[in-house]
């Protein structure tokens, strides 16, 4: 009978030790929470309710830019809107739009290369052969074959404006990249693709642009 406290102590201790996990699911305590966690509105710290309450006080936090305005230093925006479902009028019309970037120096070309590798090569491949790590010749998780940008006559003949339409609004199974690349970056990537296509055909990489030979 005297042993009951001892036994129960050992039992409780064992359970406590076993139930301890080394996975840390809680951030723990802070000395001064108002210094550790910002009182000011930081990115992603505002909930939908908070945003609504701010709106009631005429504070517009992280809204989209006012329609029709252009950021200083920003390129002239793409003049065509997205097509309605089942319509291709604007997609066809986009052929007429030429690439405002007609020449890139080596530093900007390196930047365009970087942008392509980060955003596009995952599907279209580092060699622009439409065989990136996500497709892997049909073995990857992505079921649709990405466009073969170099080596397919269809994409080599595609005008820059139509490429811009596809990158901006998405086409087939490709989503819109407008949130990842700004207007200038999109034109840079298109210039990069066009110069790679010209290079593969034996031309120099510094061709003016495909839009001239349309």
């Amino acid at each position: 009978m005297k042993k009951i406290p001892l036994i129960s102590f050992i039992l409780i201790a064992t359970i406590t030790i076993i139930s301890c996990s080394d996975v840390r699911r809680s951030p723990g305590r802070a000395y001064m929470p108002d210094m550790a966690y910002s009182r000011a509105y930081e990115s992603y710290s505002v909930t939908t309710e908070e945003k609504d309450s701010l709106k009631r006080h005429d504070i517009f936090f992280s809204n989209l830019p006012v329609a029709g305005t252009i950021k200083r230093g920003e390129m002239f925006p793409f003049p065509l809107a997205i097509d309605k479902e089942g319509d291709t009028a604007n997609y066809v019309a986009s052929k007429q739009i030429i690439n405002p970037i007609t020449n890139l120096d080596s530093a900007n070309m390196a930047e365009a290369d970087r942008l392509f590798l980060v955003n596009c090569a995952i599907c279209h491949g580092t060699k622009l052969d439409g065989n990136g790590p996500l497709y892997k010749g049909g073995d990857g998780p992505f079921a649709a074959k990405p466009a073969t940008l170099v080596g397919d006559a269809k994409y080599e003949a595609m005008p820059a404006g139509q490429m811009f339409y596809s990158i901006t609004y998405g086409k087939n199974k490709m989503g819109s990249y407008a949130s990842q690349l700004d207007t200038r970056q999109r034109w840079m990537v298109i210039y990069y693709i066009k110069s790679k296509q010209a290079e593969a055909k034996g031309g120099t990489s510094n061709v003016a642009d495909s839009t001239t030979k349309k």
Binding site: R24, P27, G28, E85, L134, K145, A147, Q180
Partner: protein
Amino acid sequence: MHYKLIAKRTFFSFFFFAFIALSNRLSAQDGKQLFQTNCASCHNPIKVVIGPALKGASERVPDKKLLHEWIHNNTAVLSSGNKYFNDLYSQYNKTPMNTFPNLSDADIDAILKYADSFQPPTSAPTAGGATATAPESDNSLLYGILTIILAVIMLTLLQVNSNLKKLSDDKEGIPAAEPIPFYRNKAYITFVILILFVIGGYFLVQAAIGLQRTKDYQPEQPIFYSHKVHAGINQISCLYCHGGAWESKQASVPSLNICMNCHMQISEYTGKDKLYREDGAEVDGTQEIQKLYSYTGWDPQSLKYTKPGKPVEWIKIHNLPDHVFFSHAQHVRAGKVQCQTCHGPIQQMNEVKQFADLSMGWCINCHRTTKVNFPDSTGNNGNKFYSIYEKFHKELKPGDSITVEKIGGTECQKCHY
């Protein structure tokens, strides 16, 4: 003569069979090739992509001639008013199919044959998946047991020693002193207290320093997003989703449209390794992708956004106090620091865990040891951001290198203002 004829016939029949077998293989091979160049951007053998899955297409359209006609020139078939194809057309959002006048009937048959014989790559989970995620066994338990055994031996030997001493004292007639039990022995008690004080003090100080630091913090996120699957196995660049790290102070959590760039198409997890949470619970990857669809309002059946989306409230792991300024762009773009330097082997993490303690000592240590990457003598490579320091750099002896500390990287105002 008779034998010669038989031999000849055998030879030819063998040749014939070989030819048949070979040409069969060729056509299947060709089918795959043709499928990938012509059809694969809109069709998959077993999945709905933009158009329907092609496996079984020849059974769904028994009229072979019609099917060929459709593939050659689908607009003609549509305008002829064929009900099956017009229904199909409106079912797939009236997306026009390309015409393929160049494909011969044999080509089309080869493609359909490839699609019909297509087997999904088997994704049998490997046994390695489980063992790979099992926590590494550490030796501290073994060391603990050894310590206890050694302590017991030590105590026994001490006891034996004192007993022997007592025996020899008895023999020589020296009266033994009153034995004091060890728990009343002042030397023992002082020793134990001292040890407890040191150990307790150590843990107390560590806990006090660790307050507000969240190293190893690994919360359960609303969606089980595995960096191992995305950044590790599928080699997606970190900047694809966290583009802000290049441009701005915040690395930024991607908005859901970036997830949907790929997940419009990838609706199930087919990876080889099973997914596990850190505590060992298995996770169904496909289920987690469905969670993404419920947040975005995407309907994977009709392949359209049918409901309004709502944001995922991810739990922030890396938190710097409000009085510290930190810019990702400065480190990633100007300083060329790899993501893994601060975030650890993120491409191997199923659940993200805070790798560094983000303490000030940790920041300063790195600033003291990291060398500034100046442009070389040609003015290329290196980092042009630091060009204002170049003059001083050129005055230095070759071989000397400048750490971040030397260009003001440990000034208080750099981070606290």
